[in-house]
Amino acid sequence: MVVGIDTGGTFTDLVAIVGGEARVHKLASTPHDPAQAVIAGIAELIGGAPAEIVTYSSTVATNALLEGKGARVALFTDAGFEDLIEIGRQNRSDLYALAPSRPAPLVGRSMRFGVGGRTLHDGTVQKPIGRAELAAIRKLAEKSRAESFAVCLLHSYANPASEELIAAALAPAGKPLSVSHRILAEYREYERLSTAVVNAYVAPRMVAHLERLESGLKTRRLRVMQSDGNAIGPALARAEPVRTILSGPAAGVVGAAALARAIGLGKFITFDMGGTSTDVALVDGAARVRTLSYPNGYAVRTPVIDIHTVGAGGGSIASLDAGGSLRVGPESAGADPGPACYGRGERPAVTDADLIAGRLLAGNFLGGRMRLDAARSERALAPLARAMKTDLAGAARGVIRVVNANMERAIRVVSVARGFDPREFALMAFGGAGPMHACELARELGVRHIVLPRNPGLLCAWGALGAPLGREYSLTVRDADPRFARLRGRARPLIARARAELTAEGGRPASIHYDLRADVRYRGQSYEIEVALSPRFAVEFHAAHRRAFGHSAPDAPIEVVNLRLRAWAEGPHRGSRRVSPPAGRPSPAGRVRIAVDGATVSAPVYQREAFGAGARIAGPAIVAELSATTYVAPEFDLRCDQFGNLHMEAR
């Protein structure tokens, strides 16, 4: 019996495989103590029997950072460099702000402690830390009001000895300890420092949370999703919670990839359009991972699935700006007051435009539990229509086009700008508003195939359920005359560490995969391309450089900057998903008038449940379900596959 769980802000979703059968459950989250919903949900879903493996995506670290409710951190770093955490990279995020600002540093000035040693770039200890100083650190740690300690010294990736000395002096105080080279043995001090500090900031809450969870759960193995889509055991999650900050969205992409594999789909782009924001990610066989992200403005250099978020969704407000251009977002009506049609808001949102355009059915929202107020949408949109010198339908169409342009730009960021042609990919649309906008977005991008997953609300839980056990290890080597044999030798300690850690978490040694990779660049360049570390890695690098940037220089000297090891063991088997019953011809539940390219046409409305395996219809049409509405554009056909997923294909 295995369980996958997604703890969201509002709901906690669970999926369990019991005797080869999938069971699902949903309950309200308990944000003050997320463990409660997890414990109660499992009891409600599978009763008292202990689960073999429970894997879940945690919002604990995320929320500590987003809400600014992390720990009081004391930072130990090189004397003379205590303020680096505040200086960052010296830059500002908004070029044209009259008063530039940046997020407040997570360590106050009085909590930064300079230490007098110094290590050089080649690992030489130029000046060791004195015994007296270590004793002083030990004393300071015992008296300190800090709840968590971070340690980051210059060049610790090249020689961690000095960091380890400080760590040993801090350890007796018994507080969470974040040591930079253990989390990230890579050069570029600010990003490593910031990663260690963010880790220290969220660690105490994660530790307390896992304690509550473990004491309340009868499970043989508990695992936590990381931002890169792999799961880790509680010991690692406690030590390095920074790796879990984007675990929820990552679980969603992993779930989408699992679903895609089941239907033989290798290349797709997720399009998750919600109320206030939209997430997109590109999957080419596997989800793409990047190594630097800025949650809430703080630099974190751990692997995360390359999810691009834009601040536009169903709640985004439309207005005409002073120059006469239509703007949609970033201002959002959110859930309160929400779009005008929810009954409280006054200003037109994307959802209002969707309603007026006929894609959203007033009587079918949340399965009919909430009736949308179309007249209110019209009243809210009317002033905008007048200003745009068009009618309500024209204004609605305009709002939809502009928000789609925002989405298109987001998708170009993860595809075109990364060297992928979106036309070779399918679009996997979900979220409350995704299926409503997918056809037009696909048309703009030249995408011909759209997948609408069955039970999209469970993608994250599904992703967690089958997530592999694994993590990434890296080491800066900066080898200017790279030879495969030597690099392979330098990677051995990484492999040993991976084997020890994953075995301790229940991975069978024989089932652990080791994917050894190298960050390579031309000597003198400062951007690296990652290639597999094989005897042919140099050839691979030249080819990859040419593919990404259109030129390469096979005669130029290259440099290997970092070694990366991705180690993982297969996750629990997700089991076979239930096959939909074969269907007769689906019959429409009614008809509705919808706006199509400037005209209004009559289109059938179907309930999603009406589609069994193999059912087919032609657009235009509307498909309604509990959590979303799908707009099938006239040039698309829709069919249902054997697992109950819907596919829209351009004719």
Binding site: D83, I87, Q90, L98, R401, V416, S526
Partner: protein, 532 residues
């Protein structure tokens, strides 16, 4: 001047928004390619570059937000390239001449025409500008204390660096023969070319998808749109004439301050900016050519137009600029200009904001550090057996505004480059950073205090040439409405034994192995009277 009333297809609010998004996306994508393929830390790590799209007349249509000082000046480069060269399909122009469309010599601009199939005249242009870490001249880094442009490095009027799709080898060789770090320059130029190719390909794809007339109409409409936004922003400022004066510490040769004066007349959605009365151009290298003054003005006005405004030529239409030739804000050949781009540009911003603070006291910030504290170190690295050239700008304190204390150690106004990671610097150069911290107590007091400056101290392990180009070492960044001034910057040579020797703010010096250079940057001014 009345604009020709050409017949234009109407562009509705929706198309405007959609095309704005697409054009901006192309410029951003060019920036991604340039940043990722460049060789030098200056471009990749510090992101000292910009990418932009222009219409067929050479007017700016979209520019990715990278470095403000490039904003107003790139159009002059493109127009210079168009005026002097007949750009055929597959050609790319390069230039850096400050008196023919450039800013200062290290900033090399590349311009590519974008031809549509079967057309002789370019439909549009793609351009980018990158700060090269060395362009020859009397000292490594090309930011030396010069008195003539001839000493500052290779001067490149618009020339074709790519002809019909193939690199013009002779021009490349001429260029590379005049720089100190040849491989790096060549890699950076290739990266610039790759970015232009991406921009051109995307523009052609957009025309193929949307139609030639539609894209042409959209480019025109986007400029008109930006113009309307700027007019609306200017109407928010009360009509009137606002004057201010500020000054540069000196030009490195004399000791007298060099005044900048401006008068801004705001009149019903128009602004007339007049620098008449500013000092004559000087002997040292802090002369700003016209492009710099235009960029700084563009930047200030874009800040005043809060919210998202597209960066295109239309923004400048409601603004007229007078910068008398032969002055510090419109220097003529053969003036040295390396510092005009990085230092005088900041003072032009300061004086403009000082004037606008009278018009919009609640919005405008007190003076920020007002100097990029440019440090260049170069020489022969005997450990690695090669020449090296390291360039860095060091941030300072931001000025405070109503409700906003100034940020510390942050780049403000005309630059936004990143610092070079210490762990990269020490691995590639014969240098060691011995201190890098916030300079405590350097901020201007106030109801809202200014930000603090930085201390950066670097030890040289070999004999090296050091050039420093810094400002606000005598005349402090001013506060507003009773707020105190930020502390002036100070710079030192520190001997191996720890003996400190004050260094002039604009200086070339020889550093012995083991000696250190210590830069303490200015703080920002405070806003409002501090409570006692």
């Amino acid at each position: 001047m009345k604009r020709a009333q050409a017949v234009r297809p109407p562009v509705d609010p929706v198309t405007l928004a959609v095309m704005n998004s697409r054009m901006a996306a192309i410029a951003e994508e060019m920036g991604v390619v340039l940043g990722q393929t460049a060789f030098s830390p200056n471009i990749k790590e510090r992101r000292d570059y910009s990418c932009a799209l222009f219409d067929g007349a050479g007017e700016l249509v979209a520019q990715a937000a990278h470095i403000p000082v490039h904003l107003g000046s790139t159009p002059l480069s493109v127009r210079a390239a168009i005026a002097r060269l007949d750009l055929a399909p597959g050609d790319i122009a390069a230039l850096n001449d400050p008196f023919a469309g450039g800013t200062h010599l290290p900033d090399v601009t590349l311009v590519a025409p974008i031809h549509l199939p079967g057309e002789r005249k370019p439909f549009a242009y793609a351009a980018n500008r990158a700060h090269h870490a060395d362009i020859g001249g009397m000292a490594p880094g090309s930011m030396a204390l010069a008195t003539e442009i001839y000493q500052e490095g290779l001067r490149l009027p618009p020339v074709k660096i790519v002809v019909g799709g193939a690199p013009a080898r002779d021009v490349f060789e001429l260029f590379l023969a005049n720089t100190r770090v040849r491989e790096e320059r060549e890699g950076d130029l290739r990266a610039q070319i790759a970015a232009l190719e991406v921009g051109a390909a995307r523009m052609r794809a957009m025309v193929a998808a949307a139609g030639r007339a539609e894209v042409a109409a959209a480019m025109t409409a986007l400029k008109d749109y930006a113009e309307r936004l700027m007019r609306a922003a200017l109407r928010e400022i009360p009509n009137g004439t606002y004057s201010a004066e500020d000054a540069m510490d000196g030009d490195g040769f004399g000791d007298r301050p060099i005044p900048l004066r401006v008068k801004i007349k705001i009149d019903g959605g128009r602004a007339h900016v007049d620098f008449t009365g500013s000092a004559p151009q000087v002997r040292g290298s802090i002369n700003a050519n016209y492009a710099i003054t235009l960029s700084a003005t563009f930047y200030v006005m874009k800040c005043m137009a809060a919210g998202e405004t597209p960066s295109n030529e239309g923004l400048m239409r409601p603004i007229t600029l007078v910068a008398p030739p032969g002055t510090i804000v419109n220097a003529q050949p053969p003036a040295a200009v390396a510092g005009g781009n990085v230092e005088t540009s900041q003072r032009i911003v300061d004086v403009l904001f000082r004037a606008l603070a009278r018009a919009a006291p609640k919005r405008v910030s007190a003076a920020s550090s007002g100097s990029m504290s440019n440090l260049t170190v170069g020489g022969y690295d005997r450990f690695r057996g090669r020449h090296f050239s390291y360039y860095e700008t060091i941030a300072g304190g931001a000025g405070a505004a109503a409700g906003h204390p100034g940020a510390s150690g942050i780049h403000t106004h005309m630059t936004n480059t990143l610092n070079t990671p210490i762990e990269a610097l020490e691995a590639y150069y014969p240098m060691r950073v011995t201190e890098y911290r916030i300079r405590r107590s350097s901020s201007g007091a106030g109801k809202f205090a200014g930000g603090e400056g930085l201390v950066r101290e670097i030890e040289c392990l070999v004999e090296a040439n050091v050039s420093l180009l810094a400002e606000r070492r005598k005349i402090a960044p001013w506060g507003l409405h009773g707020g105190g001034a930020g502390a002036c910057g100070a710079d030192y040579l520190v001997s191996a034994a720890g003996r400190k020797r004050r260094l002039a703010a604009k200086a070339n010096a020889l550093l012995e192995p083991g000696e250190r250079i210590r830069i303490e940057t200015p703080g920002g001014g405070g806003w409002g009277r501090a409570k006692r």
